[in-house]
Amino acid sequence: MSTIPINLEWLSDCSGCHVAIVDLHEKILAVLESVTIQRCPVLTDVKDYPKAKLGLVSGAIRTEHDRHAAIEMRKSCDLIIAWGSCAVYGGIAGAGNVHSRQEIIDAVYTGNKTTGTHTPPTREVSALEPSVSPLDSVIDVDLYLPGCAPHPAFVFDALLALLEGRSPRTATGESVCARCRRKMEKSDVDRIRKNSEGVPDPDRCFLSQGYLCMGSVTLDRCMSPCPLNGIPCSGCAGATMQVLTEPNRDIRTEIAERMSRLTEIPREAIVREIERTAKTHYSYTMATPMIGEKPTFLIQKWTDEERDDYEQDHNH
């Protein structure tokens, strides 16, 4: 049987997307039968970029090395999958974009509480780029597979689909709510609660209880494990298709709309709270210049305002 050559690469990331693929458990054999893994930093020792039909790239562009590797992958592969939220949106590393490169270096090397030295590394390492960028800001991407990490079932399906020349079956446009079993019910809750406040009711929608769950605006690439296990969704897979494609929908207004209908909390108060905690609620997608049609530069502004408020409060 002829097999399809594939290359895998990781850029600035946690390697979780690669580890998650091992969690296909027994099914991994089915994948391995139909592909020939060439370059793959976890499994093989191929150092260059051989020609491949398919390339999976995880991770964001943080260093000059990342940019170079992304370009090499594009040159060597017919199709490129942006694999995981880091590649699609910049992921958690992108939350560094509200800080300058210098602020990051300072936090680690020059002003770190347990670090006795005060100089950053000066040789051998690749320079950090001024900011973190998602993969498609550097190369063309053919398929996006967000999720942090995407559930192995989606990776499996995406691979098989591409190999069989069909479109992926599991990767629907549904939100995390679709698999969540909590009930959206009208309540008289009149205040937003922090996730750690109180002990949530296991059967009721978090929004009904005053917790900011991101499930309704987040694409399901994970099988909704958080709300099924007592934790509000924190949006690690990025926005749903509706948010991405419909100009009048937006993460904060969508949540505010729904939550204000379910509770006594005013819509405006919810919008304001999400803006005030922007770094918490947009953590995984902040490096992308646009979420769908909506520019994200406001996130930077909201985060700066919150930090200024804090510094003002604490400096006198």
Binding site: L43, D45, K47, R62, T117, P121, E124, V125, C148
Partner: protein
């Protein structure tokens, strides 16, 4: 003219890490080390976020040991809020962790070191990988991979997810154990324990065979250093809660302290050629290099506290001594921990307390929270400053691999001295560096990543004529 030798990439971590060796005109060693080439800057990224998010966001530091970060973060948050999670929550967190360690240790033993053990250090690199192991000993390999799978499944059933678990929160665990989960967990734990019992003697035998064939591993590739790990009050090993203990090269106890005091004992310093900082143990005016991880934990603790692990530990101490500084025995210590994990998981399931309430409410009223765990590769510390609104204002992290970093670099320098400078023996250099680094199993995403056998390329610049030693796998 200076000479530079570069080993690139060190492991299957190209772009993330490589090794270099610099010689001066006279051929003497100038500098050598492991270059870690990634920096995401979590200490800055975390600031300005809700403290509640720490267990979720810090897991993304490392996809290889996310559960360690997840739990170190919740320990820190419990301390910041001044709450004590209910007993059931503590047991469930520990159970999640036992699953994670089974997964992680099996990956290290069978995927990373398995090829050396089964096929020998001098086997053809083309087959010296996990596929080669599967072909050579299909039955053992299948059981080992199954065992890893079960570990991850336990982690997932308790943690909600395998990679990047979510259920541990400030104040406890976000769900209550039901009968279905309990049944499934018991079945998996039994199966994993059975597999570990079958695998342990095989691994041990392979390891001993390798040591017999390579006596240098126990005679020359030994770096005496301090050891740091975590123990309970009575000296029993502790992996998710406990005090940090340090011993010196001879085994004398030098310090034992609660997590929050780590900053008076440990000092980081930047390395000019790497994004990863190294850490030393401060004793007055002196700074000591130290090791962390399974071997260090065996060195510092007095017992594991479960029968089979303690029986094997006695055998280890009798034959190898304690403290032990032979890195080649790291897999042996890891194997004993694997036994401990499946034994401890059974104890946890048998404990009646596991059925109680799992969560207490939490409020952050401003202050510092420090927490730690023993990650698969060693002590992992999270330290947050949280304001009165529950927002993280400053964060400091010390990860396992950083603490072994000084010793990794010493080892590379030793290998360079013995194998390059007076004896340009290419193959021996490759083996020594590769084996030495792999013994520390450096997790470089906690700085980035290392899995698997090593493709090495060494460029030796002698009199400006580059000589390339390459091993293509």
């Amino acid at each position: 003219m200076n000479k530079t030798i570069t080993i690139d990439p060190v492991t299957r971590i190209e772009g993330h890490a490589r090794v270099f060796i610099d010689l001066d005109d006279a051929g003497a060693l100038k500098a050598a080390g492991l270059v870690v080439n990634e920096l995401r800057g979590f200490e800055k990224i975390l600031t300005g976020m809700d403290a509640d998010r720490m267990p979720l966001v810090t897991a993304r530091i490392c996809g290889v040991c996310p559960t360690a970060h997840h739990l170190a973060a919740t320990n820190a948050l419990d301390n910041a809020a001044g709450v004590e999670p209910p007993p059931a929550a503590k047991l469930l967190r520990e159970l999640m962790y036992m699953g994670h360690l089974v997964h992680s240790h099996c990956l290290s033993l069978f995927v990373l070191q398995g090829p050396d053990l089964v096929l020998g250090l001098d086997a053809d690199p083309a087959i010296r990988n996990v596929v080669g192991v599967v072909q050579a000993v299909p039955d053992i390999a299948k059981k080992a991979l199954r065992c890893r799978s079960i570990g991850q499944k336990i982690n997932e059933l308790v943690g909600g997810r395998g990679t990047h678990p979510v259920t541990s929160v400030a104040g406890g665990i976000a769900f209550v154990l039901d009968a279905d989960r309990e049944r499934q967990l018991n079945a998996w734990i039994q199966e994993a324990h059975g597999l570990v019992l079958e695998l342990a003697p095989v691994v041990k035998q392979l390891l001993m065979k390798m040591l017999d064939a390579n006596p240098a591993m126990l005679e020359q590739w030994v770096i005496p250093a301090w050891s740091v790990g975590t123990v309970k009050g009575d000296g029993t090993i502790a992996l998710v809660n406990g005090e940090i203990r340090a011993i010196d090269e001879s085994g004398a106890r030098k310090a034992q302290f609660p997590t929050a005091d780590y900053d008076t004992h440990l000092s980081e310093s930047a390395v000019e050629f790497s994004y990863m900082k190294q850490v030393s143990f401060v004793e007055g005016e002196t700074r000591h290099d130290y090791r962390v991880g399974p071997l260090a934990r065996l060195n510092v603790s007095d017992r594991y506290g479960t029968p089979l692990a303690d029986q094997e530990r006695e055998e280890f101490v009798r034959t190898m001594g304690r403290p032990c500084h032979a890195n080649a025995l790291q897999p042996y210590a890891r194997l004993i921990e694997l036994l401990y994990c499946t034994e401890r998981a059974q104890e946890i399931m048998a404990s009646p307390e596991i059925h109680g309430e799992t969560r207490v409410p939490v409020k952050f009223s401003g202050g510092r929270g420090v927490g730690h765990v023993e990650a698969p590769r060693g002590t992992l510390i999270h330290d947050y400053e949280i304001d009165e609104n529950g927002i993280v204002r400053a964060a400091n992290l010390i990860v396992a691999t950083q603490q072994n970093y000084a010793l990794i670099n010493t080892m590379i320098a030793q290998a360079a001295t013995s194998h390059v400078i007076n004896r340009p023996d290419d193959q021996a250099l490759l083996n020594a560096v590769e084996f030495g680094i792999r013994c520390y199993d450096p997790c470089l995403s906690c700085a980035t990543h290392a899995l698997g056998a090593m493709p090495l390329e060494i460029v030796v610049n002698r009199a400006e004529r580059p000589h390339v030693i390459r091993r293509n796998c």
